[in-house]
């Protein structure tokens, strides 16, 4: 299996006033293509900093980070923006859809920043991504006319549309009720089954059961890194949930 992500002794220091805060103190791991990794940790464990680093939004103070074979550490702002555009799909807790904008236009957005796509190609890819997340019948719905689950699906479609090397989900179920959370997990498992690489950052330990690997972070260091041999099916868990009354 090809390595998508390789972290080599990543450190990240922040200066807060006169003190130096060590957010990451030497993190190393490798993620191969097709893995569904959950990264867990309490707040202050450094998982947000790790996510920013993985997402090429931030560069480490020291250590090497290779994304799909490219070293990120010494890249400038603009080349990192380009790398994000091509290799990474973000899914955020609060969806971050453009207001009053249709599903298609929201999903098209990453391709708008990539000049190699024509308008027709953009539209086609956006429609395919929306079909893949089960929103084929809501292409023209505007973001303010959708439920939370639907908005998160649009956000996932937006993350898929550029065929990224890795999907980075940041508490992607954090704003959703239990049932909708499971629906989104089902979708992530489906994408995993299709061979996508997914990194899911969360503080909810339950989600680890549905992923193929679990990395636990504490005080800026990896505490445990375990492969999950007993992956639960989110679809089954969803079926066991009590049905909504309406």
């Amino acid at each position: 299996m090809k390595d998508i992500i390789r972290l080599d002794n990543i450190r990240r220091d922040f200066k807060v006033g006169d003190e130096i805060v060590h957010a990451l103190r030497g993190v190393s791991f490798t993620i191969s293509e097709g893995e569904f990794v959950t990264i867990m940790g309490t707040s202050g464990s450094g998982k947000s900093t790790l996510l920013n680093t993985l997402g090429c939004l931030d560069t480490p103070t020291s250590g090497e980070y290779y994304l799909d074979g490219t070293s990120v550490r010494k890249m400038g702002k603009n080349s990192r923006a380009r790398l994000r555009n091509l290799k990474i799909g973000f899914v955020f807790q609060s969806y971050n859809l453009l207001p009053k904008t249709t599903a298609i236009e929201n999903v098209e957005l990453p391709l708008m920043y990539n000049p190699s796509f024509s308008a027709a190609a953009r539209k086609e890819k956006a429609i395919n991504a929306l079909i893949a997340v089960g929103l084929g019948d809501r292409l023209m719905h505007k973001s303010n006319q959708m439920s939370g689950g639907q908005m998160q699906r649009v956000a996932i479609a937006r993350a898929l549309v550029n065929d990224p090397a890795v999907i980075l989900a940041d508490e992607a179920t954090g704003n959703l009720d239990t049932r909708t959370s499971f629906e989104i997990l089902v979708l992530f498992q489906k994408l995993h089954a299709e061979g996508r690489t997914i990194i899911f950052v969360t503080h909810n330990p339950e989600i680890a059961r549905y992923s193929s690997r679990n990395i636990l972070l504490r005080d800026g260091q990896v505490i445990t890194d375990t492969v999950n041999h007993d992956i639960h099916s989110a679809a089954e868990a969803l079926a066991k949930l009590p049905k909504n009354d309406d």
């Binding site: 920013n52 997402g55 939004l57 931030d58 702002k77 603009n78 923006a81 380009r82 994000r84 555009n85 091509l86 973000f90 955020f92 609060s94 971050n96 453009l98 207001p99 009053k100 904008t101 236009e105 957005l109 990453p110 708008m112 920043y113 990539n114 000049p115 937006r158």
Partner: protein
């Protein structure tokens, strides 16, 4: 990232905020429209002044008795009696660049016919006066040189005097009217000229032989003024030199003496008036320009609010691959779109307002093409200038903080 995509992105963002976009635009619309309208009004009045001056005779030269000094005391010009009949006669005989000469004396009083009477002014002139002032007799005839020599009690009257004294529509030719106590036989009626740009009625006067007015109304021997015309407008300066030489000689002025007369040419007057209206144009345009500036600051203000309000959106765009320059371009395009659209609407409104001022309020307006181009260019520049700082601020946001901004 190509330009078309940026345009689409900016356009969609604006379409999402139509009301706010429109309100911002309003500042620019009012600014541009007022610049165009004000310039049109300024230019219009300048043109109408120029037109009137050339109608009055752009080669006209007016001589008035000047301010004399007696023992260090400057005298009132109207009390001066330095212009004599000889001066008139010599100008008539000895000049080469002067086409027509007419003495002028005038008196205000009541004109009376039957039971109608009206206040007006009688001007005593010679027949040359018509050509000098470019007046035309509409009906009847001008009085003759013969009438001047005999101080005949004949007159030519303006249209307002006709309306005031003959309201029933009687033909005034041949009728005898009275000016004060003196009866005058009407021999002609002047062509109507209407009001001038300063609101003066140009038809409210009577002209009569200057000898008649001088002897029988004013009882004076001097002249209140002499009006001449140069052969051509270009010869005005030469004509003034000739006249000045004759007058200085006649008045026996020594080298060191100041002129005891004033010579003013229409050319001078026209320069003075147009510079006054130029000044007015500048003032109007400055006031309008300030409103354009205020509109620009409005854009800046809204763009600032917009950047803050859309911090999360900016963070998202950056995290999915927008570079700083893409964000900068997006916000700049938004502000330029607002100002250019506002500018276009402003140009249309300004032109429409100028036309309405002209047609409804009868005020002369003239839209100069450069004023349209200028105000349009200024408002595009305004969009870039006032959009730049907020756009720069947006482009410099840190995506990590922006995406989690509450």
């Amino acid at each position: 990232m190509n330009g078309t995509n940026l345009f689409k992105i900016a356009f969609r963002a604006l379409a999402n905020n139509k009301m706010r976009g429109f309100l911002t635009m309003l500042g620019i619309i009012i600014g541009v429209a007022s610049v165009i309208t004000m310039l049109a009004i300024g230019q219009g009045s300048k043109r109408s002044i120029q037109e009137q001056i050339s109608e009055m005779g752009s080669n006209m030269i007016m001589i008035q008795p000047g301010q004399g000094m007696f023992g260090g005391v400057r005298q009132d010009a109207s009390s001066m009696e330095t212009l004599k009949l000889d001066d008139y006669q010599n100008i008539l005989d000895e000049t080469r660049y002067v086409a027509g000469v007419s003495p002028t004396v005038n008196s205000s009083g009541q004109a009376i016919y039957g039971s109608n009477n009206a206040p007006t002014t009688v001007y005593g002139v010679s027949p040359d006066y018509l050509d000098i002032r470019r007046y035309k007799v509409a009906d009847g005839d001008m009085f003759s040189d013969q009438d001047v020599q005999t101080a005949a009690k004949v007159c030519v009257i303006g249209q307002t005097v006709v309306d005031n004294l003959f309201p029933e529509g009687t033909n005034p030719i041949g009728k005898v009217i009275r000016f004060g106590k003196l009866p005058f036989r009407v021999v002609g009626v002047m062509e109507s000229k209407g009001y001038n740009s300063m609101g003066m009625d140009q038809d409210d006067f009577i002209i009569a032989p200057f000898t008649t007015v001088q002897k029988k109304i004013l009882a004076i021997t001097h002249l209140q003024g002499i009006t001449c015309s140069a052969l051509k407008e270009e010869y005005t300066d030469q004509a003034i030199d000739e006249i000045s030489e004759i007058l200085r000689r006649n008045h026996k002025l020594r080298e060191i003496d100041e002129d005891d007369f004033n010579i003013r040419s229409q050319q001078e007057l026209s320069e003075m008036l147009t510079s006054t209206s130029d000044m007015m144009t500048i003032l109007l345009a400055a006031v309008a320009g300030i409103s354009l500036l205020v509109g620009g600051i409005g854009i800046m203000n809204i763009m600032y609010v917009s950047v803050t309000e859309r911090t999360r959106e900016i963070g998202l765009r950056m995290s999915i691959g927008a570079k700083g320059i893409d964000i900068l371009a997006q916000f700049l395009i938004e502000s330029v779109l607002i100002s250019v659209t506002g500018g276009l609407i402003g140009v249309l409104l300004g032109v429409a307002a100028a036309i309405i001022v002209n047609k409804v309020f009868m005020f002369p307006t003239y839209i100069q093409p450069w004023s349209v181009i200028l105000s349009f260019a200024v408002c595009t520049f305004t969009g870039i200038f006032f959009g730049w700082y907020p756009a720069k601020k947006a482009a410099q946001l840190d995506p990590i903080e922006a995406i989690r901004y509450e």
